[in-house]
């Protein structure tokens, strides 16, 4: 009996191929299978969250209440944010890490394969529970993805309890995933793969994993305090008992600000792989890149209250967080300069992944600029909680994080499937997305500066024109993602055979493997000179 579950299910020799049937996916310990699961899950969540975004934009197409009532609108903004952050962007990066990290460092698999499977399979259950709140009495969480107390405690619908437990589950999944990544990178490198030879994607993930382990438990802590306040009579976020609603925001943003970097550092890594490939030139300032990522990670723990400039922080606190935040611009700027210097005097070609990477550099930088503006505390009093902020973080997250994920997909898909992508379709997808994203989010800067608050289902008449424009852009962007789905499926099902190296300028261990990569990457560790 003791060996049945362990031994009979699959093969004990690890040079065998995948098991057949659904069991392959349910019981797998293979990093590629798990990576695939993560990536499909995240695509599903991206489309779900995207549908909610389109519902929001449809309501905002014109002033007046058209399609949905304010309660439901608030549920949509909340669920859209939560699904995109925890369901789309984070799992996509974990999926990429699963696929790529072992191949890039010359490892046989992830360090802790069974736990790896567990971290994935928690997610569908967690999100099933979270999405089911939409059908509960009182509706889904309606307090925004930042769930500020006491709107999310005393004044929340009963479904908040399930939301809290769903967040706990996501946290457990993220922490286990991050532990796995760290153990793999630190312990399973091929001989000769020293830390300073690690591909930048691996470096960025190592630091991201550290951030995850450091802050996900803090998120768990803060939702636990919410649970206690709602159901067990404590007063953490209630002044009547000596607590403080603002305490919630401090703890939340102590998690939340590093979380922002969790969603962008792996993107830095991806872009730092793609640009040198298509510039046919080594990355400029590799060491600076690594150091800048580490520095950004450390500083990210010291700037959380810049999300809270209007809550009435004492003046000294206000100044501290303003100065610290402004300083973060320096290492971030260094990264952009390095990418540009990598392209300078290279020999550039513009395949689909490169187009996404270039769009990333330009549009992420625009998001960075508005970030710098938001860091100026006095000016933030005018920007805070307006559409200017919405524009800012969507520039960082959509053409930032999401574009980097798409770039990565197009870049490594030939390695995963053995087929080249359809360049023509890829480019059509790119241009539609690029145009759509800018039409959607650029006008948001304007309405924000003109005074439109965020998270409102209806608005004053002077904001009408730009909102219509943004909604049209959102539909262009949203529907062009079906092309992405098509491109991925088409590439899996067929296409020109991919060579091992795939891209002319590609460097790195993963390109020494055959395309498609074998089920077990490096049964024998390669030697890196």
């Amino acid at each position: 009996m003791e060996t049945t579950l362990g031994q009979n299910l699959g093969d004990t020799h690890h040079d065998h191929g995948p098991a057949s049937g659904i069991g392959r996916w349910l019981f797998t310990t293979n990093h590629k299978d798990i990576g695939t699961l993560y990536l499909w899950f995240s695509l599903l969540m991206f489309l779900t969250g995207g549908t909610m975004a389109l519902l929001i934009r449809a309501e905002l197409f014109q002033p007046g209440l058209q399609l949905v009532q304010p309660e439901f609108f608030n549920q949509m903004t909340t669920m859209h944010g939560l699904i995109m952050v925890f369901g789309a962007v984070m799992p996509a990066f974990v999926g990429l890490a699963n696929w790529l990290v072992p191949m890039m460092i010359g490892a046989p698999d992830m360090a802790l394969p069974r736990m790896n499977n567990w971290s994935f399979w928690i997610l569908p259950f967690a999100f099933a529970m979270m999405i089911s709140t939409l059908f509960m009495e009182g509706g889904a969480p309606n307090f925004g993805w930042t769930f500020y107390a006491p709107l999310s405690t005393t004044y929340a619908p009963p479904s908040v309890t399930f939301f809290i437990f769903a967040v706990h589950m996501m946290g457990i999944s993220s922490i286990m995933g991050a532990i796995n990544v760290i153990a793999t990178i630190l312990n399973l490198r091929a001989p000769g793969m020293t830390m300073m030879k690690l591909p930048l994607f691996v470096w960025s993930w190592l630091i991201t994993a550290f951030l995850l382990i450091a802050v996900m438990p803090v998120l768990a802590g803060v939702v636990t305090m919410m649970l206690m306040d709602i159901h067990f009579g404590t007063s953490f976020f209630n002044a009547a008992g000596g607590g403080d609603p603002v305490l919630f925001q401090h703890v939340f943003w102590f998690f939340g600000h590093p979380e922002v970097y969790i969603m962008i550092l792996p993107a830095f890594g991806i872009i730092s792989e793609i640009i040198p490939t298509f510039a046919r030139k080594r990355l400029f300032g590799y060491a600076s890149m690594v150091y800048a990522i580490a520095s950004i990670a450390i500083l990210s723990f010291l700037v959380w209250a810049h999300h809270m400039f209007t809550v009435g922080l004492p003046l000294a606190g206000e100044l501290f967080f303003m100065f610290a935040t402004m300083l973060i611009a320096v290492p971030t700027g260094v990264k952009v300069f390095n990418w540009v210097a990598t392209m300078f005097r290279g020999s550039l070609t513009f395949e689909t992944p490169m187009l996404f990477a270039l769009a990333f550099v330009v549009l992420f930088t625009i998001g960075g600029f508005s970030g710098l503006m938001l860091a100026i505390a006095p000016a933030d009093f005018q920007y805070h909680d307006t559409y200017f902020v919405v524009a800012h973080f969507h520039y960082v997250l959509v053409p930032g994080a999401i574009f980097s994920i798409m770039a990565a997909t197009y870049f490594w898909l030939p390695k995963w499937t053995g087929h080249m992508i359809n360049e023509r379709m890829g480019k059509i997808h790119f241009w539609l997305s690029f145009v759509g994203v800018n039409i959607t989010f650029f006008p948001m800067h304007f309405v924000g500066l003109a005074g439109m608050p965020r998270r409102i289902p209806d608005y004053a008449l002077q904001f009408a024109d730009f909102n219509s424009v943004a909604s049209v852009g959102a539909f262009i962007f949203g529907f062009s993602q079906l092309l992405f789905l098509y491109n991925v499926i088409a590439c899996i099902r067929g296409g020109a055979r991919a060579t091992d190296r795939v891209w002319e300028g590609a460097h790195g261990l993963e390109w020494t493997l055959p395309s498609p990569a074998p089920y077990h990457s490096f049964s024998q560790p390669p030697v890196v000179k």
Partner: protein, 370 residues
């Protein structure tokens, strides 16, 4: 070059921007010294960003145009340059310091709320604002006055759609007014863009802000912290009057308050109470319990046919006066005057087929609300 086609709509969009000069695309300079300072900071940092952007994107597009493989470009092999790297670290650093100095100075001034001529306590409620002129005996609520029909697209929307209220905050021009912001329930945020005043109203705590309004006029803003269902429907309107007019307004408001108090002594008929009660219900109760009295299932209970509105009258009065702890039901005893309370309770007991025939007098309420 087919791919360039895709640029066309984007270019078309950019070209159309200047054509729409009437659209506001930038922060307005505002109407106070602080607001103008902030606008200046905003413009400086904006142009700094533009300048950096021009340089960085310039180099990038230069490379994209000239260093492409299709033009026969060969990759050069350099991958670090300490001098350049140190330069592009130090220059942004210098720019940041240059920015930090005026920003700090402005911030310190914004935090100096001493020596105010007038103190106004602003309390956020779901979903309205309460203004109390401290030491002046003036205390009133300010509620959205845009008719429901406009919101539901049944009527044409007015010029100040969603930015109009029944009773604006009235301030004297040229005087320093200190705001003491707090909240009764969840976190709200009080924002008037022209004054560059935005401060969160935190339940149980008091935040300070101040303004010296320079010119008489009407200034509009909105709540900027998600505060529940009607977050988009609680605007801020400030009317700034010259000192004499403000004094006159103050005197009138005090007189009106006295008259209000007197009306609580008189006798009210059921019909009068019902009429007044409907108005009060629509401004204070309908947001949650709905104009139809049906509530929102799972969130806000129905009042039509409810055991509260048709059962024991004392329990009904009690819940309206003191609210229900742990729920969104507020204590209206401190918000509404005795006449309004009596009227609204009477209304609730007789509307939507409740038809209890009960009538509550203001005196009854005043007694209970000690």
């Amino acid at each position: 070059m087919t791919k360039r086609i895709w640029l066309l709509p984007w270019i078309g969009f950019l070209v159309s921007l200047p054509a729409a000069a009437a659209w506001q695309v930038n922060l307005s300079p505002g109407h106070t010294a602080i607001a103008r300072d902030i606008h200046d900071l905003h413009m400086i940092i904006f142009w700094v960003c533009v300048a950096i952007g021009v340089v960085v994107f310039g180099v990038m597009f230069w490379s994209i145009l000239h260093h492409r493989k299709s033009k026969g470009a060969e990759a050069h092999h350099f991958h670090e340059n300490t001098v350049v790297e140190i330069l592009w670290t130090l220059i942004p650093f210098g720019i940041l310091i240059a920015m930090a100095v005026p920003a700090t100075a402005t911030l310190i001034r914004m935090y100096d709320s001493t020596e105010a001529d007038l103190d106004v306590q602003i309390t956020g409620y779901q979903w309205k604002w309460r203004y109390q002129y401290l030491g002046q005996d003036i205390d009133y609520f300010s509620v959205l006055s845009t008719p429901r029909e406009q919101i539901n697209n049944e009527e044409e929307k007015g010029e100040h759609y969603l930015l109009e209220v029944d009773n604006p905050l009235v301030l004297p021009a040229g005087k320093k007014v200190r705001f003491l912001l707090t909240s009764n329930d969840v976190i709200h945020s009080w924002w008037v863009p022209s004054f560059a005043v935005k401060k969160d109203a935190i339940p149980g705590f008091v935040n300070e802000a101040w303004v010296i309004p320079e010119e008489p006029g009407i200034y509009r803003g909105q709540c900027t912290e998600l505060c529940g269902k009607d977050h988009g429907f609680m605007p801020v309107v400030v009317e700034v009057k010259p000192q004499e007019e403000f004094d006159q307004w103050l005197a009138d408001a005090k007189a009106a308050a006295a008259e209000q108090a007197a009306s609580a002594e008189q006798e009210w008929t059921l019909e009068q109470l019902m009429q007044r009660g409907e108005q009060v219900y629509n401004t204070s109760c309908a947001a949650c319990h709905q104009a139809s009295g049906q509530g929102v299932p799972g969130a806000f209970p129905a009042l039509a046919g409810s055991p509260i509105t048709t059962g024991d009258i004392d329990a009904h009065i009690d819940i309206v006066l003191h609210g229900k702890a742990g729920t969104a039901m507020q204590a209206f005893g401190s918000q509404l005057n005795a006449v309004d309370l009596a009227a609204v309770i009477t209304f609730e007991r007789n509307a939507w087929g409740n038809d209890t025939g009960d009538s509550v007098s203001p005196q009854q309420i005043a007694e209970r609300n000690q």
